[in-house]
Every structure is written in structure tokens, then in C-alpha cells.
Symmetry: C2
Amino acid sequence: MKIAFIGLGVMGFPMAGHLANAGHDVTVFNRTTEKALLWVKTYPGSATSTPADAADGCDMVFICVGNDDDLRAVVLENIGALAGMKPNSILVDHTTASAEIARELHAACLQKSIEFIDAPVSGGQQGAENGQLTIMCGGNEDTYKKAAPVMNCYAKKTCLLGPTGSGQLTKMVNQVCIAGLIQGLAEGLQFAENAGLDVHKVVEVISQGAAQSWQMDNRHDTMIKGKYEHGFAVDWMRKDLAICLDEAKRNGSKLPVADLVDQFYAEVQDDGGGRWDTSSLKVRLK
Amino acid sequence: MKIAFIGLGVMGFPMAGHLANAGHDVTVFNRTTEKALLWVKTYPGSATSTPADAADGCDMVFICVGNDDDLRAVVLENIGALAGMKPNSILVDHTTASAEIARELHAACLQKSIEFIDAPVSGGQQGAENGQLTIMCGGNEDTYKKAAPVMNCYAKKTCLLGPTGSGQLTKMVNQVCIAGLIQGLAEGLQFAENAGLDVHKVVEVISQGAAQSWQMDNRHDTMIKGKYEHGFAVDWMRKDLAICLDEAKRNGSKLPVADLVDQFYAEVQDDGGGRWDTSSLKVRLK
């Protein structure tokens, strides 16, 4: 299949690689050309100097960029992907962005008889590298059925959650759950340390029961050590939480703890930790 | 082994039953006599009218009551357990209480050459009934080694965390982690509902990754349905969080989210939900 992949960040770079390794004819575009050149050296495939050129004549175009404005730039502008895409092709957006931009992109695609899926992912850099991402999709079922087998090149699970925007809304639920969860864990671990307990032993016991979480199982050790190198950065989490808090105002949800944790992440940024991973909340509590 | 069990609440009742069913010679005491009589009808064993009488001549005395003051009453007062216990016997306290009362009871035991273990449990009513509790112990290793095989009648895991009080401190870590975790989950589920998503589908997807927790796996369905009948009540959680927040002041920990969630639980109580289980935070967010 002829595929374009736009956005070669820590996620997009290996994701595009999985597509190329699976035998697809992949053309990439990245805003900074260096990464596109590195990608071409690493994987079978080619690079272009505009999204429109990358998308030209493709059956599917995948995007994984930073935020709503980046999406408008690489999709909707003169040299954006839509300018190159052909009718009946499919645009899949892996960016974590707002539900509105998903609807906006979908509407623009409809004008050109192009199909659209919003498809934010979870699983982090490691999941992208191992091809073990979870993909939360919004769109119509026919389009999803065509896109899912291709996404499976880098997914352990894909799911259609509902109409356009549902993928983004589901990713927001994910981030809201994580915010409270990590803060609770950070408070607990810090309490354990201050109480003079052997924190590893404590986790060994309490992870057997109702306090267990993926974060407890996979992050307690690095949180205790103050190592925050797990990829998904505080800067990105703040972008995601801003989207969540904005959408919550719209749909009438109250997110008091997500709001508070967002403020704690702002403090981590103030301390120069914007690139630390999301488990770095602990550092706020010493 | 000759054993006394003091406190036949939703936890103590089946725990004492497991000891009796395992062949131990069990005598029970409960403040309200009705439950003691029901216990004697249900399990092989006898009941007495004071803790001292129950503890008389026992090798081990187990306690599972409500709070620090209850403990002082059933252990330290004239007709308390210590008045009946013999030297070299062991007192095991399963109450979730403060680390101070653990040290206080330990000091009192020492005066009479009695050994002491603080041993709060997790696993809830169901864990007590199925004999699948997790037991967090504080005390010295020799005492623990003698007590653990007996506690295994109702435990899936027991662990010695450190000196007297360490069991209570570990239980506090557990409750602090749970507070943030449930609130994050409650906010996420409520956001999902308000966004018009199929909440079950959302959980199916996000529970595959970094948002996963025991609470998500085991409570999302009843939270969505607004059914809060899982035993461990908001009233008890508030008692536990009060102990945590008090200890945090002492050891210099900051627990901003545990503190906030405690206030939300107070609102649940105000709405008549004191006996609902701890997942009822969701109801605050509609």
C-alpha cells in the first residue's frame, strides 16, 4: 500500500518504521529535515519536502504531530496533506489533540471525498518502538475496518469508540485517570519514605490489592530513585490536560484533581522538569 | 492453639471463623452480644462477656475493632485483653489504627512479657470471607514468624514491614494511593459519560495501558451504575484518611490530593452515603 507518514517525533519515527518494515511503500515528511533524513537511512522508504508531496497519490496518510495548530499546518495549508491526497484515500491522525480539530479535519476531508479517523495512541515511546501501542479511534466503521489492519503494524490493540472525535475523547479519559492515579501514588510513596518504611517492601505488599495500578507496578522503582526518563514528558501531559480541562468545561464535567495535578505539573516545569516523565510529580512532595 | 478473637465486625466475624474452622480452640468477644451469639451458632467455638475472659490463658489474642479508642477499651481497661493474657502469649491487632496506638499497645504488652504485632489488613469483606486478605505487619521478626502461620488461615499474603507501627504506616500508604486513584478514575468515568462515550468500551481500551488499576478493573462497572455496595465504607475511609493526614503532619509529608478527596468523602457522608463504598466519589461529580 502507498502510505505517507507525517511527523517523525519519538512516536512517529518508529511507527513509520513499522509500516515500512511491513512492506508498505512509505514516504515521510518531517518539519525538521534532519529527522526525515535519519529515517530514510534507518528504514526502506523516501522523504519529501512538503506534506502535500508525501501524500501525493497515497492510499493512506498517517499524521503524528504536536497539537491542533500543527495539524492545521500539515493538513489544511496550501502544501498540506489534503492538497496531495486523492479521493477515497484515508487520513489517520495519531496526534493527541482536541475533539474539535478532529471534527474540523473530518469536515475538510469530506469536501474532497477523503475518509478520516482520529486515532490517538497510548503506550508511549516504548510502545511505539515495540509496535505495542493501544489506538483509540473515532470515525465510521467502514473506514475503521480499512485502517485497522494497517495500524496493527504498530498496535497491540485498536478499538473504534464512536463517531469522529471519540478517539480524542477517550484519550482524554485516559489522561484524567492517570493524573489522579500518579498523584495518589506520588503522595503514597513520599509518605512511605518519610515514615521510614522500606518503600520497595511496601509496594510489594500493597500492589497485591486495591491500591494496585500499572503505574505502581511499572513506575514505583524509578519514582523512588527520582529517575524520570520514561519518555512521555510533563510538557506533553500539560498539553493533554489543557485539552481535557477545556473539553470538561464544554461537557459539564468537574475535574478538581486533574486541575490540581495540572498545576503541580506546571511547578515541575518551573523547576526545569518539562522533559521529565509524568511520574515526576513525586519531586514536588519532598 | 488456644485463641481469642475480639471484634466480630464484617472483617472479624469471618476471620475468627477461619481460625475455628482450621481447628483452633477459639473464644470470641464482641461489644454487642448478638453478634457473638450468632458467631457461636455459625462456627465451632465459644463466647465470653469480657475481653479479659476471652483472652484468659490464650496463646494468641487477635483484635479487629474500630479505632484507637476502641483498642484502648478492649485491650488496656480493667476487663481488657491484657488483664487475661499470660506471659509469652502474642497479641495481634488487625484494626486499622494509628502508629502511635500500636506503639502504646506494644509498650503495655512489654510490661507483662506479652508479644505484639500490629497487623492491619486489606482485601475488604470479600477478602475476609474468602480468607484472601493481605496483612501488613509491624513488630519483631521472631514474633512475626510465630504469628504468620496462624494468620495464614485468612491471608493470601502476609509481610513484615519493620518495627512496631510499620504495619499501620503501610496501610496508610495504601489508603493514600487509593484516594488519588479512585478520584482520578471517578473524574475520568464522569468525563466519559458527559462526552457521550460508551464507558464500558472506553475502559476496555484504556485498561490495557498506563491508566490501568485494580479499581478500574474491579469497580468501573458498579461506578457507572452508581452501585456502591462493596463493603469498605466511606465512614471507615474517612477514619483512615484522618489517621493518614495526622501522621503526615508528623512526618512532614504533603498530601494535597488525599486531603481534597477526604473533603469529597465528607460530602458523600453529608448526602447520606457514609455506608456506601469508597468508589462512591463518582456521585459527587454529576
